[in-house]
Amino acid sequence: MLPNEIFEKLRSVYSDQIIELIENHPSDSFITVNASALFEICHSLRDEAFFMFDYLMSLTGMDLGENLGVVYHLYSMQLKHKIVIKAFVPKEQPKVPSVERIWRTADWHEREAYDLIGVNFEGHHNLIRILLPYDWEGYPLRKDYTAPEMYHGMKVS
């Protein structure tokens, strides 16, 4: 299935929750969706017979200045098609529904995005830092991040 066909199918079910399709060859086409309906959209992307996206290739967090973004790369092993889903949330309240119950792969990926970008995945069963120490403050891959002076009595820079 081509990206525009996937877009039309999703549009027919979720109407205005699906914001737009951006086709930008040769990079992957992506569909922007409303973050509040993300869980239901991902659920039908995995389970509907014409989608069958059984493989979450990657989950990435982004800092876009005012907004934070989450990018999902999906692939269907059975139907051999792929799509990119993006969702944007404001930086003050970065709440995105967790897809960890849909694809188990998302568990650690979401923890990484939480650790470095600070996206709050709601419904994740164990949303704690994965790479940095548990008592680290701030989210280092945000553009406005400034590193602390000291950590546990050790000079940082």
Binding site: Y151, H152, M154, V156
Partner: protein
């Protein structure tokens, strides 16, 4: 074989070697150093080549240990992150005296490529534990490991054991 043959015959060849007990002890100490290998990054991969038969690190009398209690020196090979820095300190403190540290590669010497913008990297392992030998390189060649090991042996074989405080002028 010359030395051993002489020792066989105490009357003709002598059979006696004169020397200091301290030198004998230091000779033994420097020729059998067991190490706690602390592999953290790509230097540890180079260290695998060093340990394998081509370069044969064990000819220096070194045996890898997995416990700090049995180790004479710790080999810090790789990038020391702040998360790991706490652990290195604990392991170093668990080692029995006398203990030594070899810092391998740019990362553990001074922070390496993370020296300016690495918010998560300790800028040199010598900020938390005293380092005896630095091996430069990114990663160092096995020859550099050999040189570093010989430097450590040299250092150990010249150390004072008896009347240490008196000789160092502390008392």
């Amino acid at each position: 074989m010359g030395l051993l043959n002489k020792l066989d015959d105490p009357y003709d060849g002598g059979g006696i070697i004169l020397g200091k007990v301290e030198e004998l002890l230091n000779w033994g100490r420097s020729k059998s150093d067991w190490y706690l290998h602390f592999g953290l990054a790509c230097c540890a991969i180079e260290f695998m080549a060093m340990n394998a038969s081509h370069f044969d690190f064990m000819r220096f009398g070194t045996i890898p240990r997995t416990s700090p209690r049995q180790a004479d020196f710790i080999m810090v090979t790789g990038t020391v992150t702040f998360k790991m820095a706490d652990r290195i300190k604990v392991l170093y403190e668990q080692m029995a005296e006398p203990k030594y540290v070899i810092s391998v590669g740019s990362c553990s010497n001074c922070g390496g490529p993370y020296w300016e913008h690495g918010y998560h990297v300790l800028k040199g392992v010598d900020k938390i534990i005293p380092v005896d030998v630095y091996i430069p390189g990114c990663p160092p060649r096995p020859e550099a490991f050999e040189e570093g090991m010989m430097k450590l042996q040299e250092k150990i074989s010249h150390q004072a054991i008896f009347n240490k405080r008196k000789r160092l002028g502390i008392e």
